[in-house]
Symmetry: C2
Subunit: 395 residues, 2 copies
């Protein structure tokens, strides 16, 4: 499912191709986040215009609203959203532990109250696979506990044990549900088995936890690899720890993971975070930063971050980024976008969110090109230097 195409000669950065039931994805890749089945304020056609190849949706949110019954009746999440490309669904583990209240973790699963209406729910590793089956996910994630930073070693060790057990049960249920899908379809179609077992089937990724304890990360990797997944995510990154620890954990964990499987750093990150961890051998990223910060008027550029609400831009007739070819930069000035934020016009947050997604995707495209040409370290160095330019100037 994952094909390693090229390894950069002077770093651990790598180029790959991930096959999914809804098409191939070139890695490294950035996946915009459509938590509730919509990348906030952005239309599908705009994502395609930005060369977005894959998006992320969230099982926890969609399970609560619109609920599985609706998704089933309209024919799955792809149809519901009108998105024909690949889609990864987060398991909801992170949301259960960060959003839901009255949470009770038990051996068999987690009981919680909805953050929307307080209704009670019980999620097990099996149920979470079932939800993602119903959504029609191309890449599923297992239920895990995402431990925040800092966390006591004892707690992390205990939590990891449960996460690993859940991962084993997830894989078992995933295989069973595949077999049962094959059995069901075999009655009407004799070629179904081969199909479902190969390209058309969803992928299942395991999630490596272990906080900042490297030996626990190692244990997690060994356990997950022995279970066997289509790809491996590094969870519990960027949850409050200092930046050097993000890179240390990502680098160490990536170095233990099997080369022939995709590696996904969950929830990362800022543009420099992504570039730094691509150098550690990470292939996949998702982050709410381009849209969330975009809605607050913060734009990402090759020279750093711009806060468009600032009075500095009052009569600035330049685009956000003179080097950018996105719709926002081709059409509008900083002065206009500042006015839109100043007057609470919805177009403002649309325009900046769009620019930011375009920037993230373009950055990763250029990173891929640099890897192919064995000059990723130079690319990284120049990118980081330029990206800090405005920050330096302001000192």
């Amino acid at each position: 499912m994952f094909q390693l195409i090229h390894k950069d000669k002077f770093s651990k950065a790598r180029l790959g191709r991930l096959k999914t039931a809804h098409g191939e994805v070139k890695t490294p890749v950035f996946m915009p986040v459509g938590t509730q089945g919509s990348v906030k304020a952005i239309a599908n056609k705009e994502l395609l215009d930005c060369n977005v190849e894959i998006i992320l949706a969230n099982a926890y949110h969609l399970y609560l609203r619109p609920g599985l019954e609706v998704i089933r009746q309209v024919g799955g999440l792809h149809k519901f959203m009108g998105w024909a490309g690949p889609m990864l669904t987060d398991s909801g583990g992170y949301q259960v532990f960060s959003l839901a209240s009255l949470r009770k973790v038990r051996e068999d699963g987690v009981e919680f109250s909805s953050h929307i209406d307080g209704s009670k729910h019980f999620l097990t590793p099996e149920k979470v696979i079932e939800i993602q089956n119903e959504l029609g996910s191309d890449i599923m994630m297992t239920l895990d506990e995402c431990v925040h930073y800092p966390a006591a070693r004892d707690y992390v060790e205990q939590s990891l044990e449960l996460t690993t057990k859940w991962a084993r049960r997830s894989k078992k249920y995933f295989n069973e549900s595949r077999l049962s899908a094959v059995a069901n379809r075999a009655q009407i179609d004799s070629t179904a088995k081969a199909e479902i077992m190969s390209d058309e089937r969803p992928l299942l990724f395991g999630i490596v936890q272990g906080s900042t304890y490297l030996d626990l990360r190692k244990r997690a990797v060994e356990d997950l690899v022995s279970i066997g997944f289509d790809g491996y995510a590094i969870g519990g990154l960027s949850v409050g720890e200092p930046q050097n620890l993000i890179f240390e954990v990502a680098d160490y964990t990536a170095s233990l993971l099997p080369e022939e499987k995709a590696r996904y750093a969950m929830g990362l990150g800022t543009p420099p975070d992504m570039i730094e961890t691509i150098a550690c051998g990470i292939d996949m990223f998702d982050c709410v930063v381009p849209t969330r910060n975009g809605r607050n008027g913060q734009a990402f550029t090759w020279l750093g971050e711009l806060q468009l609400r600032n009075a500095d831009y009052k009569i600035d007739t330049r685009p956000i980024d003179e080097a950018c070819g996105c719709y926002t930069c081709r059409t509008h000035t900083r002065a206009y976008i500042r006015h839109l934020f100043n007057t609470e016009e919805l177009l403002g947050l649309r325009l900046v969110s769009l620019h930011n997604i375009h920037f993230y995707v373009k950055l990763i495209e250029l990173a891929r090109k640099a890897i192919l040409e064995d000059r990723f370290m130079k690319f990284k160095e120049e990118f980081i230097k330029n990206y800090n330019k405005w920050k330096e100037l302001k000192k």
Copy 2:
């Protein structure tokens, strides 16, 4: 500037063409409202995709934010907004009387406090023309007092007297400022005078007030026509009066206006309002309804209005309107849009606003076609019958 192209054989409906400095507009026409320099939640390219030919912006709002200094420095409102087509600017009279507080109307103008920060301002008819000059408006409106319904005859009569005086001063100042622009430009360009005096100059429209008193409407028309404007707006419509009075006043007033000038019903209206008043000989419309109602989940269709928040649409996989070719209807289902409103996703209000603008423009396009083919009354009858279909079914 206005060319009457065709009159429907069986009604007062008419086809025309309005020349502006930024291009021609086919009438009847609907102008989406971009109060603060943005049609709420909609991008310029989407307006163009919907065949929008002209938009409206508001002098009062733009005068307060970003302010004239910013607009001047960035080179006018067209450049500021990135809109290259025709633009009409409202004088701000309506806003001073509906939004601003501590309002004092004097003979020479109106003093008020900003609805944003309470700052004090004084607008005169001359100042309002000056503001619209700075904005670079293609069609300017004179300062008037928009009287709400119901209003005592004495009050309306007195208000109308002032509005007429202000209209006279507006025209005088408009002519003077044109002459001075010509004088200034003549120094550098000998052909400037002819240009500024013809196609390239902005148009100035007068506004007929008089509430529901038909004799006062008549007096207003006579006074304004004697002053002479490029077009005539009917103001003070849809300000609380019953619907039959809207049509009565529009019909009566339009019948008094010179045939060779464009007629603009300010603030109208719902789709049936527009179709009914096109039959009275109205050429131009603006209304916040498609975007404002769109932001609340109300969609306009050929069969009436849909409230997309309703549970009825929970698993409805049809587009908003099966007869519609807009991006929203080509891409998304009612079930998905309902989910977007239900989860407060910004994409929802974008999609419905876009659909509504598309619907308004398409409706007026078909009305123009019907006028050209002398079958407007049949078109109107069928439209109204179909438009009430869902309402009838629900009874």
